[in-house]
């Protein structure tokens, strides 16, 4: 056959076999056509191989730049229109975290330990500007601070003000002002009690209120805690004065849970200052005995005559000149400013929204942490100051004081008016006196006798309406 082909091809044109002399179907093709045909064949094979490779590549092997064939082919035919805006980045779906790297240490800022700052908010618009000034002044590296806010059942513009402030900070030119992750959680729990000071602090409302607050705190934490957090800092929005270094100051103690002392400034007539947070305390035998007598769902709340617990309170142990590093073991804590290691919350300690050993919310939190053998510490001589919100009694007292003050002011005003009047009339006279004196001196020097009478008449005319003035003039004339 090969000879046949060779002979046939040598002819340069299609022909029948010369050997047989009989017509045969063409067994071969001309050189140029054969060459092109083999080229086409190679091309087709290459294409098939390529698509096969592409398919295998996308399915099983290859690197990260390869992709699911169906979606990429789709994107080609749609000219990228279907996946508009989606094609310029890749997704990471897998996260790996070793929790032993986020245990929290005494000098966390050196190890880039992240703190989750949790702030529960409800109708807090009025306090936000103060809060943000504190936040911006924190000395802990801002990029290591993740902020989480819970806005619940708010009727004022808490949300609007909050978002505006946060967006301004993240858009600030100074890079060191930018915070880390910022989450605003919105959840309404249905308010059972009013938020005004009196109903908020009334004894009867406490158990329900504390349980509700506890739920809110738990919702905030569970939505915001991430595997990369080493610390969690709870901060109330209405703290008026606190050191900018508070995070480092508390962290240096390297405790599982730590709280500062919380006082509040008072008007002078109330003594100038007062312990504020009575929820930080040590357990007492009296309280434990009391707890045993109470119903399963009862909640002991501190600072009310109804439950006399005789517990040592962090607040009352404050010495303004004491060493701020002095520590005190606690069983219950207040929620104004809590720094806790994130592992405390990971292990399951939370704010009980039920009666846990007769306590709820932050006090139950302290109790639960102790139950898990974690350290709970308070600093009696390291004080931050809560904003002063007058109670109803205070307000009444203040109104009384205001009335007294107003009455006093009124009296003073009257007095002042009188004095002014007196002074006015007297002042007029003195002015007149001076003028007259000058005038008269002139007159005296120029035309001593003859015009003295005329001048006296003119002065009389001027001061005529004013009796004392008139008298003075007369005196002058007499002189």
């Amino acid at each position: 056959m090969s000879a046949v082909i060779r002979m046939g091809t040598r002819g340069g044109r299609p022909s029948t076999s010369l050997l047989t002399g009989v017509y045969q179907p063409r067994g071969t093709t001309p050189t140029n056509r054969r060459r092109t045909q083999s080229l086409v064949r190679i091309g087709v094979v290459a294409a098939v191989l390529f698509f096969l490779a592409l398919y295998v590549f996308a399915r099983g092997g290859g690197d990260g730049s390869s992709s699911s064939s169906s979606s990429s082919v789709l994107s080609i035919f749609s000219l990228g229109l279907l996946s508009s805006g989606g094609a310029d980045f890749e997704l990471e779906t897998v996260r790996y975290h070793d929790l032993s790297n986020v245990q929290g240490t005494a000098r966390g800022w050196e190890r880039e330990e992240r703190i989750l700052v949790c702030v529960p908010l409800r109708d807090a618009e009025a306090h936000l500007s103060m809060f943000f000034s504190h936040l911006k002044n924190l000395t802990y590296p801002h990029n290591l601070l993740d902020l989480a806010f819970l806005v619940s059942d708010s009727k004022d513009n808490t949300m609007g003000v909050l978002v505006k402030n946060l967006e301004d900070i993240q858009a600030a030119e100074e890079e060191e002002m930018h915070f880390g992750e910022i989450s605003i959680i919105e959840k309404d729990f249905g308010q059972v009690v009013n938020q005004d000071v009196e109903s908020r602090h009334g004894f009867a409302a406490q158990a329900g209120r504390r349980k509700l607050m506890a739920r809110a705190r738990n919702w905030l934490l569970t939505a915001a805690l991430r595997p990369y957090h080493s610390w969690v800092y709870w901060r109330d929005v209405d703290v008026e004065t606190a050191p900018f270094t508070i995070l480092e100051d508390l962290m240096r103690h390297n405790k599982d849970v730590i709280v500062p002392n919380v006082w509040r400034p008072l008007p002078e007539w109330l003594g100038g200052e007062q312990p504020y947070d009575l929820n930080s305390w040590q357990e007492s035998d009296t309280a434990l005995t009391l707890a045993d007598t109470l119903d399963e769902d009862a909640v002991i709340v501190e600072g009310y005559a109804e439950y006399a617990t005789y517990r040592p309170h962090l607040a009352y142990l404050r010495d303004p000149y004491g060493d701020p590093d002095v520590e005190m073991e606690l069983d219950g804590v207040g929620g104004v400013s809590i720094l806790a290691k994130a592992k405390v919350f990971r292990y399951g300690v939370h704010f009980p929204a039920f009666s846990f050993e007769k306590h709820a919310e932050t006090e139950g939190f302290g109790k639960m942490a102790r139950k898990m053998d974690l350290s709970v510490i308070g600093l009696p001589h390291y004080t931050i100051w809560h904003a002063y919100e007058p109670s109803v009694d205070d307000i009444k007292h203040m109104e009384q004081m205001k009335r007294e003050q107003l009455a006093q002011e009124e009296a003073e005003k009257e007095k002042a008016e009188k004095a002014k009047k007196l002074k006015e009339s007297f002042g007029d006279a003195t002015g007149q006196w001076e003028r007259d004196k000058v005038e008269m001196q002139n007159i005296v020097t120029q035309e001593k006798k003859k015009e003295a009478a005329a001048a006296a008449a003119a002065a009389n005319d001027k001061a005529g309406s004013d009796a004392p003035g008139g008298k003075v003039v007369e005196k002058v004339v007499a002189r």
């Binding site: 056509r33 087709v44 975290h97 919702w219 039920f354």
Partner: protein, 372 residues
């Protein structure tokens, strides 16, 4: 055939040019595909977080490596809009599947892959101990995950996956079934287990989750519709019955037996025992030396019974458990200490009840535990 004209025509069309053109086309296609690399569909990308500092229940944009990262945005999550309904599929509710894992079982992974719930709504969370066994399991798990998330078809890929390593010193007990179930080892073991569960839960829950499916790594047989099946009851906590398959020597055939005894209804005996106990001691189920006379769901199964028959429970096990996220958000966790003389999953049931959530079980709906 038009042979006389053949060569002329061939010259005109020139197959060589055709081949070159085809090759060119291929190259153009290659660069089109190679440069765009859309690894996920647009709808998935739209729900992704723009920054790595974000809830782990969502994927995030990979940093491109050029230029500095922008500061994270102010993210807003309205939890009033996160629903938990009996129709999770229709309402496209996010499910978080949580698994504490000491060993890797292929059966478990196969079940996860076969879940007939949209995978783009499922986030998987794992926590593994930092022991040699844990390292091996992590490696195996990561291999499977890479296979699915990177090279698998998009519909198989999960929304996101979180792998955590424990920071808890493991109690000095081996994972052998015999050693593990010794009574005196139970409190320490279950306290460590509870801490692991809590760590996993509170690090991953995030703001978008509607349901949490607790599924132990040694549960190797689960119905693919387990999420919908358990959710349709609209209960706060729903536990299926956990059984184990074994070779029955007497019958000479494969048989099944009850495995998880932590799903129970309380008995007066047990409550009395608890009263007399020290508050730090725990009551355990399934031990002859501590007969509690509780009603165990494991024995309540009825082969001819209705699959979806419910029963209220006072204690639950963790082998498989579907929980509304709100229950955990309210604070219900797995106590690593004696809570009403109960610990871990049983303590969780009690704490949920204290918060006003009633657990339920399905005695006839079965999942199967691995047999060692």
């Amino acid at each position: 055939m038009a042979r006389p004209m053949g060569s002329v025509r061939l010259k005109k069309t020139s197959p060589a040019t055709l081949a070159v053109g085809a090759a060119l086309c291929i190259f153009i296609l290659y660069f089109l595909i190679g440069s765009s690399t859309p690894d996920f569909s647009a709808s998935r990308k739209a729900t992704a977080a723009s920054h790595p500092l974000s809830p782990p229940t969502s994927p995030f944009r990979k940093s491109t490596g050029n230029g500095k990262l922008k500061p994270p945005p102010v993210a807003h999550y309205d939890l009033n809009n996160v629903t938990t309904t009996p129709k999770p599929l229709e309402n496209r509710e996010n499910v978080l599947v949580l698994t504490p894992m000491a060993r890797f079982y292929q059966g478990y992974w196969d079940n996860i892959l076969e879940l007939q719930y949209p995978h783009e709504l499922i986030t998987l969370g794992f926590i593994l101990p930092k022991t040699k066994e844990g390292n091996d399991a992590t490696r195996e798990l990561q291999n499977r995950i890479t296979k699915t998330q990177k090279y698998g078809p998009e519909k198989d890929r999960f929304k996101s996956i979180i792998i955590l390593r424990e920071d808890i010193d493991p109690p000095l007990v081996s994972q052998d079934e015999k050693e593990r179930h010794k009574m005196q080892n139970q409190k320490a073991r279950r306290a460590a287990m509870a801490k692991a569960r809590n760590s996993l839960l509170f690090s991953t829950l995030g703001p978008a989750t509607s349901w949490i499916l607790w599924l132990d790594a040694d549960v190797v047989e689960t119905p693919p519709t387990i999420i919908q099946d358990l959710a349709q009851h609209d209960q706060a906590i729903m536990a299926p019955n956990c059984f184990q398959r074994f070779w029955n020597e007497e019958k000479k055939e494969m048989d099944e037996r009850p495995y998880d005894f932590n799903n129970w209804q309380d008995s007066p005996t047990a409550l009395d025992m608890a009263k007399k106990m020290d508050p730090d001691d725990i009551l355990l189920e399934g031990y002859a030396e501590m007969a509690t006379f509780r009603t165990l769901m494991a024995y309540m199964t009825n082969d001819g019974g209705r699959l979806h028959e419910e029963m209220p429970l006072d204690g639950v096990g963790g082998a498989a458990l579907l929980v509304k996220a709100d229950v955990h958000r309210d604070g219900a966790m797995f106590p690593p200490f004696a809570f009403y003389n109960l610990i871990e999953t049983e303590g969780f049931a009690k704490m949920s009840k204290r918060l006003g959530w009633q657990p339920f079980g399905l005695p006839n709906y079965k999942v199967y535990h691995y047999n060692e």
